[in-house]
Symmetry: none
DNA sequence: TATTATACTGTATATATATTCAGTATTTTA
DNA sequence: TAAAATACTGAATATATATACAGTATAATA
């Protein structure tokens, strides 16, 4: 970390005080007023320097888009992403897959979890998992028989009961008589366990 | 303090989450994007309502000039009681009925709710409601056909679909072919609607 | 029953704001 | 010693943003 100059420190302090006082960051003009500058560009160049030295971030194009980087922050970790269950592809946490986030306490379910998966289809309806339900998913490949798992075969992602028949055979079992068991021979096919369900959330 | 509506709570939560994420408050357009509104005036009117009710302050003319008042912040999370569905008696919030409490944001479901009801039996299994699921219950007697209601007949409490057949006849319909519809003649029997389901929570 | 509050869409606009460009001058770094 | 960083003034501008205005519709309140 490069060292901060005294003027830059004044600007940084000014931002902090301003946020504490008003609840939102200052504009370039605000900084000028507070510190006696006569051109908004004075504030601008100081902000760019502080950004370069990693004391703040500046959201391009946004008004008052200044955020102070506080090393001792911040993540209570209670914003959980909601990911749509798409037929193809792994349910990754890439931004384009995140429909929205849900605020919820860390210990909301009995086990920690990583994201919510939005269910498509009714293959698990007899287990009480309906369309558009949100499954709380813990990312893990350690699952046992009877667990509800998020499994991936090639590019197809599915939610099913896990049942290991032998060292070579795994069955993925739906909870709906209209659906068939999926039998996987691990010597022939690749099975990826993305995680398992630790809870469920439904909004009527 | 005037009471906040569920939509206003959503907006308030949205502001809090936005600030936590970015370090600065949202614009009207940001709020619209987060909550799915299509007109900036939707955000504007909610903000004015929140200001009037003293949950926030708005700096006139300033961009992102929203500041959350302290009392609004503490209002965010809440402890909601979990009540066991006992066959007999109204599910009251008396202490002896509260199994435990769950901390969750006020606007967790789309509608405000009052408590969690722990489900017994499988009479609603085809609606994805299983034994020991927690139904988020909003206390109200205003229900419409198709709502999942918490109904009480004499001392018996049950969760069913609500279906008003006529001014005198109400049917309570299970979602399980092993169970029969409950037909109530309001002239003969007393039906109490304790509330309706606004969501569901399951812990594996 | 009339009125207010809530909950929106949609359009429009004055202005608040970020940001670039053109300078000047001093200090620090390579 | 040349280049880069610091530290400003001053003007210009595209756009981000608050905010008013015109509607529609429903629920709550007096």
């Amino acid at each position: 970390m490069k060292k901060i100059t005294s003027q830059q420190q004044r600007v940084l302090d000014c931002i902090q005080v301003y946020i504490k006082k008003t609840g939102f960051p200052p504009t370039r003009a605000d900084i000028c007023r507070e510190l006696g500058f006569k051109s908004p560009n004075s504030a601008e160049t100081h902000l760019r320097a502080l950004e370069k030295k990693d004391f703040i971030t500046i959201e391009s194009g946004a008004s008052r888009g200044i955020s102070i980087k506080n090393k001792a922050v911040t993540n209570n970790g209670n914003e959980y992403p909601v990911i749509g269950l798409v037929a193809a592809g792994s349910p990754t946490l890439a931004e384009e897959n995140i429909e929205r986030t849900i605020n919820c306490p860390k210990s909301f379910f009995d086990s920690n979890f990583d994201y919510f998966l939005k269910v498509k289809g009714l293959s698990m309806k007899d287990a009480g998992i309906m369309e558009d339900d949100l499954i709380a998913v813990k990312k893990t490949s350690e699952v046992k028989n009877g667990d509800i798992v998020i499994a991936r075969l090639e590019d197809e992602v599915t939610v099913k009961f896990f049942n290991r028949k032998s060292s070579k055979i795994v069955e993925l079992e739906p909870a709906n008589e209209d659906f068939q068991n999926i039998v996987i021979n691990l010597e022939q096919d690749e099975l990826h366990i993305e995680g398992k369900s630790v809870g469920l959330l439904r909004k009527n």
